[in-house]
Symmetry: C2
Subunit: 319 residues, 2 copies
């Protein structure tokens, strides 16, 4: 009787038999330091990512750093002083593009920062060096460019499609070019933690509007990871609700455009493969009622069954 | 007996006889939107100023706008939505210099702003046009410079020493050049409300360190106003405590350097004229314990009897 009960327990507990998905251990922890696509200086695009089980973060974009860390401390995600956490727990920043809402926090915290690396594609790195860290609008905290070089930051220019390892973090990162109001470039970063992946997209317009195939190429790159079950989540922007005029997208996505792009991805993976995929929606542009509107629209029209996640500043996400 | 008591009342109540200063009606209201000299993106130099009795503000610097307005709304200094207040109650921004901690809020709120004017000396205006509103790092919301001109902002270049009227506010403003790490320029703005004055200084080093006479010239300009009792207050920076090494001032003041400059001013006005003068201390640089230290040092060594005011974000000051 005892044995019978144990066999029955095995039967209902076995994941395949009970039809429940196998729950994976998290591979990444993410701390959003800023989640909005503009206006509010205290909450602009910036996401810290670490391999699960470690406290060595990389920053994906850097719109708001200090105020986001302060919020995370209030939420007990971090312990200690904000300036210490910035100095000791962030190894470097990957910048998707040089629009100020993606880099202001890095610039502002630079006088109190430690030695670290700034990673960007050549087009974005040039703008950083020409217009921010140039000795005029700000001291040049880097190791190349104009003015006196403070050399606190190493400027590491990236090559699209080439993976690089980030020392101390256990993470590897591959950049891919995005189109953000043609011909301006933005970047997607594919973060690799020992074969588990996280994809972060900076600002991007839809291929159809941008007259581009950058997103299609990116979907082709990550489709095998989705099929293999190793892509833990996609961070992608939805800046406006659907009533934003087509001609006023300014290189951004709406819920309808996101779902159109997700359908392109589904065409590569099969639509079942996207069911439950974590899709973290970034860069909503205030006013807040428009962000609430775009969130409603996303939830109301999600035939692929994506697991839509709306990140909050200073609240940890495990993926 | 009744008459005698009334005479006695007059005697103690008369301001000259009772030695109490005559209390003036406020001429200005000021709402600090950001008070720190760096690091925290949510609280950087920006001060709204209106003639008392009106709600038509000008901005003196624009490091943090949205997050500061939100704070002021929470403090019941403003009513309504932050984006409406920014659009409707701020007529224009006077920029002391183009370092990002003095302009980031203006850039960030620009996509949701109304038509208004940006005022700056030619050197600062050029940096704004070349490096921020340039069509690369940000759209050009102005009416001159590079890229597509959105023309939401009129760029009004100022001439040092020439007063201009700001329409709708009742205020007139005169800029004066300051030295902020020679040869870089910053600006002081003298705001005039029908013969009552407020002096706001952007970042500045001491004349002795800057090898300059910009501050001396400014003190000569305002000394007659102080003697006449029409200068309602001076907003001036103290970025570091006194233990900041002389060679690491980076164009800023310490408590000791401020008092040295105030002594130059006292030499022009007589030291009694400075007693009780409102001096609003701006731009303290985090960490916060250093700001507490410089505030203690200022209070401990104030032989002129200045009325030292430490502004708080979103809390109104009447002068």
């Amino acid at each position: 009787m005892k044995h019978l009960a144990f066999c029955f327990f095995l039967l209902i507990a076995h994941p395949l038999l009970s039809q429940k998905p196998v729950r994976q251990e998290p591979a990444f922890k993410v701390v959003p330091l800023g989640v909005l696509g503009g206006i509010d200086e205290s909450n602009l695009s910036a996401y810290l990512v670490a391999a699960a089980g470690t406290n060595e973060y990389i920053g994906l974009d850097a719109g708001t750093i200090y105020a986001g860390i302060e919020k995370a401390i209030r939420n007990k995600v971090f312990n200690g002083a904000a300036s210490d956490i910035i100095k000791k727990q962030i190894s470097g920043y990957f910048i998707s593009h040089a629009h100020l809402d993606h880099v202001a926090g890095l610039i502002m915290t630079s006088p109190n920062d430690s030695t670290k690396t700034i990673y960007a594609l050549p087009s974005s790195m040039k703008l950083m060096q020409d217009h921010y860290f140039n000795g005029y609008t700000w001291a040049n905290f880097g190791d190349a460019g104009k003015g006196y070089l403070i050399k606190q930051y190493h400027y590491q220019t990236l090559a699209a499609g080439e993976e690089i390892a980030v020392t101390q973090t256990g993470l590897k990162v591959t950049p891919y070019v995005l189109s953000h109001v043609h011909p301006f470039e933005s970047t997607a970063f594919l973060v690799n933690n020992q074969g588990s992946y996280l994809l972060y997209l900076g600002d991007t317009g839809p291929d159809e509007v941008e007259q581009s195939n950058r997103l299609k190429q990116l979907w082709e790159r990550v489709a095998p990871l989705i099929r293999a079950g190793t892509l833990r989540g996609i961070f992608i922007e939805v800046s406006y609700p659907n009533n934003q005029p087509h001609k006023k997208l300014f290189g951004h996505l709406t819920p309808a455009w996101l779902m159109k792009e997700m359908n392109v991805l589904a065409g590569l993976t099969g639509s079942k493969a996207l069911k439950g995929l974590n899709v973290v929606i970034t860069h909503g542009k205030p006013p807040m009622h428009k962000i609430a509107e775009l969130q409603r629209e996303l939830k109301a029209n999600n035939p692929l069954g994506l697991n839509l996640i709306f990140p909050e500043q200073g609240k940890q996400i495990k993926l």
